[in-house]
């Protein structure tokens, strides 16, 4: 992914996604479709500056990752059932990588929350995709969006 497209935390997210599930995302086309059955996966950390990672993706993206990871049939009920679990693990891993890359891993006040998932309707998707620091990506044909907020001083 060209450096010019890098928003904060994106390098760590891309690396986590590639290592975990062998998927390389690229900047999405301006007319990329919104993800279907979108959900926002969020994790917060204090190290000690507050930071928040948000990933928006459709259920089908999580299911695709699950089928890659577990070698199960894409589109199977098992892969759909694992979709949210995989997306939460992805943001958890990304958060750890972001903290390490910024040299914040030795602060004893470091705390990472557990990842949460909530559904996201079309209006909220449209707003989120336009927010500052949000990178909309195409990951094997799935539109996803990533944002790291906070840590500006790090």
């Amino acid at each position: 992914m060209p450096d010019a497209t890098m928003t904060p935390g994106l390098a760590e997210f891309v690396d986590s996604l590639e290592t975990m599930a062998f998927v390389t995302p690229f900047p999405a086309a301006p007319d990329a479709p919104a993800p279907e059955a979108a959900r926002m996966i969020q994790i917060e950390c204090a190290c000690p500056q507050y930071a928040c990672i948000r990933l928006v993706a459709g259920e089908a993206f999580g299911a695709m990752l699950a089928s890659n990871l577990l070698a199960i049939e894409p589109g199977s009920p098992e892969s759909a059932a694992a979709a949210d679990d995989v997306l939460k693990e992805l943001v958890n891993i990304t958060c750890g990588a972001v903290i390490r890359e910024r040299g914040l891993a030795t602060d004893e006040r470091l705390h990472m929350s557990l990842p949460t998932v909530e559904p996201l309707d079309a209006d909220r998707w449209a707003s989120f995709a336009k927010m500052a620091g949000v990178q909309v990506l195409d990951a094997d044909g799935h539109t996803i969006a990533f944002q790291l907020s906070g840590l500006e001083q790090a």
Partner: protein, 128 residues
């Protein structure tokens, strides 16, 4: 010698991945147990004999640090090797865990080789 292994992670997908890696790596396995958090893991350990614990740190109910402390304080489980498999970035916390008797650490996202090498090393040392 085949091993009775307990995998502790709140992500069912990660547990399934670790199970798959263990099977693919030809690690001799007698039984594979699972738990979704530290509290559930202690329940498994109270009822089953386990040779190795592979555990995440950031979990609900009881995290991996507390779980490891309980394992070490219980005479019946204190000698069981514990390997942390986690995205935990805090180096001080990991160093402290190693001092507290954790035998190994595998960083997420892990490769099959990382799991295999760590399990082989730890179980080799345990039976040396």
């Amino acid at each position: 010698m085949s091993y009775r292994i307990l995998i502790v992670d709140d992500s069912a997908t990660t547990r399934a991945m670790i199970k798959r890696v263990i099977k693919m790596a030809d690690i001799p396995v007698d039984s594979l147990h699972e738990a979704a958090d530290g509290k559930a893991a202690l329940g498994v350990l109270a009822e089953s004999t386990v040779d190795l614990v592979l555990a995440d740190l950031n979990m609900p109910e009881m995290n991996g640090v507390e779980m490891t402390r309980h394992i070490r304080q219980n005479e019946r489980t204190s000698a069981i090797p514990v390997v942390i498999v986690s995205a935990e970035p805090n180096i001080d916390r990991l160093t402290q865990l190693l001092k507290d008797g954790v035998q190994g650490f595998v960083r997420k996202p892990f490769t099959p080789e990382a799991i295999r090498n760590c399990v082989t090393r730890v179980m080799g040392a345990a039976h040396a």
